[in-house]
Amino acid sequence: GLLVTTCGLLRHRPGGGGAYWVDSQQKRYVPVKGDHVIGIVTAKAGDVFRLDVGGSEPASLSYLAFEGATKRNRPNVQVGDLIYGQFVVANKDMEPEMVCIDSSGKSSGMGIIGQDGFLFKVSLGLIRKLLAPKCEIIQELSQLYPFELVIGMNGRIWVKAKTVQQTLIIVNILEACEYMTAEQRKQALAKLSGN
């Protein structure tokens, strides 16, 4: 039998055998296999990096799990770096493990996230909203000015724009999006583009 353990909206997707899930709101992330997340390097332990992903345990990332990495050719990762990778092992019995390459051996955008930029945390519900196909927030923001965005499923977002001020504006909008309605958001953005 099925037991309900979280509260939220029950959603249904009819395609491909059908899927039901509970759309709940939470801030704490639980590592799940296959999820792309942003991790912060906290320690180097021999051949393995320890990453903080916001879960109950630090995740481990082997230095060979980067594209083009060999024993001689080590990736240049320092403590405090940001890494975008996916979970390859993530269950409640074992320490989660991450890699920065996909199944075909290509990095496909994963790896060390570059210099500058701003990392902040939001709730998981907002992340899912932002990652939905044709998200209005993202579309509206993209009209403002050029910027770069990395969204991790663990609630972390990294933003980088040309100036510090622009970066902070984007950060504030994304954080506030959680509690603003669509109209309020459009008003705020109109003010900004007017400026």
Binding site: L131, A132, E148
Partner: protein, 155 residues
């Protein structure tokens, strides 16, 4: 415990006794086998499968061209129809030229691997065709030259 000259009968008896002892010691379930219920429910922990989530790395207005290329690549994996509509990539060499080149290529490399006899046949064919064209012979030769048969020497 190897004992010489043990009769085969006594041997069998001994083996059977051993087996009995072992079998009695083995535990076995006295319960009838339960039918395995196939559960039609698969548990999925990640939201990725439920909702069609887009790739997490994005760049706008050309801030990071590599990431923008990635965005197109990743998102097009989900929607393959759009790729087909956009059309094929421009090729440096047109399809017709490619076909022509390939045709000749196959011929030349094929010749390389023919045996000597077949090579001579090919050569003669070419020469015959040339002759026909030049001299306008009305002799009709078979298009495929048969294998050269052994000719009896005339007396």
């Amino acid at each position: 415990f190897m004992q010489r000259g043990l009769d085969s009968q006594t041997k069998k008896q001994l083996e059977e006794e051993e087996k009995k002892i072992i079998n009695e010691e083995h535990w076995y379930l006295d319960v009838p086998d339960l039918k395995e219920k196939e559960s039609c429910i698969i548990e999925e922990r990640s939201f990725l499968r439920c909702e069609d989530l887009v790739y997490g790395r994005m760049s706008f207005k050309g801030f990071n061209p590599e990431v923008e290329k990635l965005m197109i690549q990743m998102n097009s994996k989900c929607k393959e129809e759009e790729i087909e509509e956009d059309g094929k990539m421009e090729a440096d060499v047109s399809d017709e030229e490619m076909a022509r080149r390939y045709e000749t290529l196959v011929g030349t490399i094929g010749k390389k691997f023919l045996r000597k006899r077949d090579q001579r046949v090919l050569k003669d064919d070419d020469e015959d065709e040339d002759d026909e064209v030049e001299e306008g012979n009305s002799n009709t030769r078979p298009s495929k030259r048969a294998k050269k048969m052994f000719l009896k020497p005339q007396d």
